[in-house]
């Protein structure tokens, strides 16, 4: 066991995979000379040189497309978006070229590529710079979407994503980069599509992921525990494919579900989980499934409004009590 920051865990994953496979390279804005806007790639330029660690111009569609083209002919690019917000100008490259190439080419060309960077809100960044965009990527067949909530998973899942033969949307969290956690010694990988029970419980199931799991759901669970409410907390870790079996089994036990996510409500990931659980555990549900999401508004700059908009411990506690019909 070693204690490392999230950024270090991610860096190790990239470093180890680059050492292991020389088809792997990293490109993005400021990843090389600047050592990464958030320092995830610190030291990698020095270790791997300009050939494999590349600073790009501000041209997300261009370099995302370069990644896809290089992957088609056998390289394994890691494309960093400084934040996922900036991927929106490269959206077509991702949801068309990366996601559909294998299918449209009838199996001729597959696209082993990782698009990665931080998603979600940090602090005071305003509406365009604070978006949790997982649902608009997970909507597309052909993509996988991965969202780790801790250092161990961050490393293990990123390694697996780099080895995956398909395009992977890997969404980190800016505000977690500095947070520390334990990771196993030596080589390990973490499978995609396998969720994890973070805490066993019998009263209510909460599904949450990434920062919101770490910063909000976990705290709410602790607080509820003190009030005698025993929550089972599930971290799907991968949004697509989603480990629905794990969630459904849990709900069959607890009979109640709250989904906590950072994204907007309408057609969010939580809506899908809700639908699937309702279908597969219909007779087990003792209360309507609750969702805690960001308010249905563009996120404002002022911190008081920002806090009011995002999921909070208070909102989660309220939702859990709702499904338990207690106040």
């Amino acid at each position: 066991m070693a204690t490392v920051s999230m950024r270090e865990a991610l860096r190790q994953a990239i470093d180890e995979e680059m050492a292991r496979d020389d088809r792997v390279f990293l490109m993005g804005e400021e990843v090389a000379q600047y050592q990464g806007a958030y320092k995830v790639s610190q030291g990698l330029l020095q270790k791997y040189g300009e050939k494999r660690i590349l600073d790009t111009p501000i041209a997300e569609a261009g370099f995302a497309g370069i990644g896809v083209g290089a992957a088609m002919v056998g390289l394994r690019p890691i494309v960093e978006f400084m934040t996922w917000n900036f991927s929106l100008v490269a959206y077509d490259q991702i949801v068309n070229n990366a996601a559909k190439m294998l299918s449209m080419s009838g199996g001729n060309f597959h696209v082993p590529i990782v698009f990665r960077g931080p998603g979600g809100a940090a602090h005071n960044l305003g509406a365009t710079h604070s978006q949790a965009l997982e649902s608009i990527y997970a909507h597309f067949p052909g993509l996988k979407v991965v969202m780790p909530s801790n250092c161990e998973d961050a490393k293990g899942l990123l390694k697996t994503s780099i080895r995956d033969e398909n395009p992977v949307i890997f969404i980190e969290s800016e505000v977690m980069y500095g947070e520390k956690g334990d990771i196993p010694d030596g080589e390990y990988t973490t499978p995609l599509g396998v969720g994890k029970i973070r805490r066993e419980g019998k009263d209510v199931t909460i599904v949450s992921w990434s920062k919101i799991l770490a910063h909000v759901a976990t705290k709410a669970v602790d607080q509820l525990a003190q009030e005698g409410i025993d929550v089972e907390l599930i971290d799907p870790r991968t949004i697509r494919p989603m480990d629905m079996d794990l969630i459904v089994e849990s709900v069959k036990k607890t009979n109640r579900l709250v989904i906590v996510e950072e994204g907007w409500p309408f057609a969010g990931v939580g809506a899908q989980i809700s639908h699937d659980v309702m279908k597969r555990a219909f007779d087990y549900l003792d209360a309507p499934i609750e969702r805690v999401t960001q308010e249905d508004v563009p996120l404002p700059y002022a911190h008081n409004l920002e806090i009011a908009s995002l999921p909070s411990v208070e909102k989660v506690v309220r939702a859990v009590k709702n499904v338990l019909y207690v106040s």
Binding site: I66, V73, N97, G142
Partner: protein, 342 residues
């Protein structure tokens, strides 16, 4: 102004055959004729409802694919937009498989999944067939990136229409290709229209090669009706790329004889019947046969047999396609995710 390498000339017969062997010249002629006849058949089959969706024919532009692709080798890559039958044939993709694809069959280039706009052939280094205008232009830079990354001496040919030069991905890709010195040959097939919009109504510069000036990229402009002229200019670009890894932008002036796609009229409000007829006077297939005749490489008899030979091939393609099975139902769920190679 940084002048392009080739001054634009009136279309002319090449008296010099550039030292190409008779065998090569005949193979190119056959290829162009096949492309032409193959697509005439496509037009029929589309009318009959056997080919579905959008079907963009290459008639009139054959010299561009033949002249450029043969300036490269089999291991060089080719990527293009949806007007891809011609480039695919020139790159050696089996015309039977292309026809089967068009007819929605399992034996097609992509098992019936991609259709006319999305031909692919991994073995032949034919990277598609892409239907979002401009979307493939960065991919070509990525392929060239991989070539250089592996210290190979290959090149990637990337074709696009005149209309595609106005979209953002063109700008981003050309800047990156030039900045990073990536061995890609960008070929603008300037057929004067993007659908119904003429170049001067879509681009602030009519001379599309001028766009290279914004990227300090090697560039050239030429008439694309004479396959030998195209070959000469393309060869120079390829050699430059092999030597320096540097990209080129070639503006090749050409013309499409048919409507934008087979669901569009040959000439709508945007061009006249007379214009189309005038342009047809410098038909690249005829121009090439005239050159070959003038140089005593072939005679009229050769042309007749060639027509018959090609006709037979096209018939075989149709037979193969028609007798092939549809993709089985379970194919629907395949090729969505690739299973690990490891």
């Amino acid at each position: 102004m940084n002048e392009p390498i080739t001054a634009l000339k009136q279309p002319k017969m090449h008296s010099r055959l550039l030292g190409l062997s008779k065998e090569t010249l005949l193979a190119w002629y056959d290829e162009m004729l096949l492309s032409r006849r193959f697509e005439e058949k496509c037009a029929q089959l589309y009318q009959m409802g056997q080919i579905g969706g959008f079907c963009h024919l290459y008639n009139g532009q054959e010299a561009v694919a033949t002249g450029t692709i043969h300036a490269g080798n089999a291991d060089d890559y080719v990527i293009t937009a949806y007007r891809d039958h011609g480039p695919a044939i020139s790159k050696g993709v089996d015309p039977k498989a292309i026809m089967a694809e068009l007819l929605q069959k399992y034996t097609g280039t992509t098992k019936g999944k991609g259709g006319s706009m999305h031909l692919f052939d991994r073995q032949k280094n034919f990277l598609g067939g892409h239907a979002i205008v401009g979307g493939h232009i960065p991919l070509a830079a990525g392929v060239a990136f991989a070539i250089k990354y592996r210290n190979e001496r290959r090149v990637c040919f990337c074709y696009m229409g005149d209309g595609a030069t106005n979209i953002g991905s063109f700008h981003e890709a050309l800047n990156l290709a030039s900045l990073w010195k990536l061995p890609v040959i960008y070929v603008i097939e300037n057929n004067r229209y993007g659908m119904g919009t003429s170049v001067e109504r879509a681009s602030a510069v009519e001379d599309l090669w001028k766009k290279a000036l914004a990227y300090d990229m090697r560039h050239d402009v030429l008439e694309g009706h004479d396959v030998l002229e195209v070959y000469r200019a393309a060869k120079a670009a390829v050699e430059h790329a092999r030597k320096t890894y540097e990209p080129s932008l070639l503006e090749i002036r050409t013309y499409r004889y048919r409507g934008h796609s087979q669901s569009d009229p040959v000439h709508g409000h945007y061009r006249s019947k007379e214009e189309v007829e005038e342009e047809r006077k410098r038909d690249p297939v005829t121009m090439f046969s005239d050159t070959l005749k003038a140089e005593n490489i072939i005679n009229d008899e050769y042309l007749e047999t060639a027509e018959k030979r090609i006709k037979r091939i096209v018939e075989e393609c149709v037979q193969f396609a028609e007798s092939s099975p549809l993709p089985p139902a379970e194919e629907l769920y395949k090729d969505v995710y690739f299973e690990s190679e490891e």
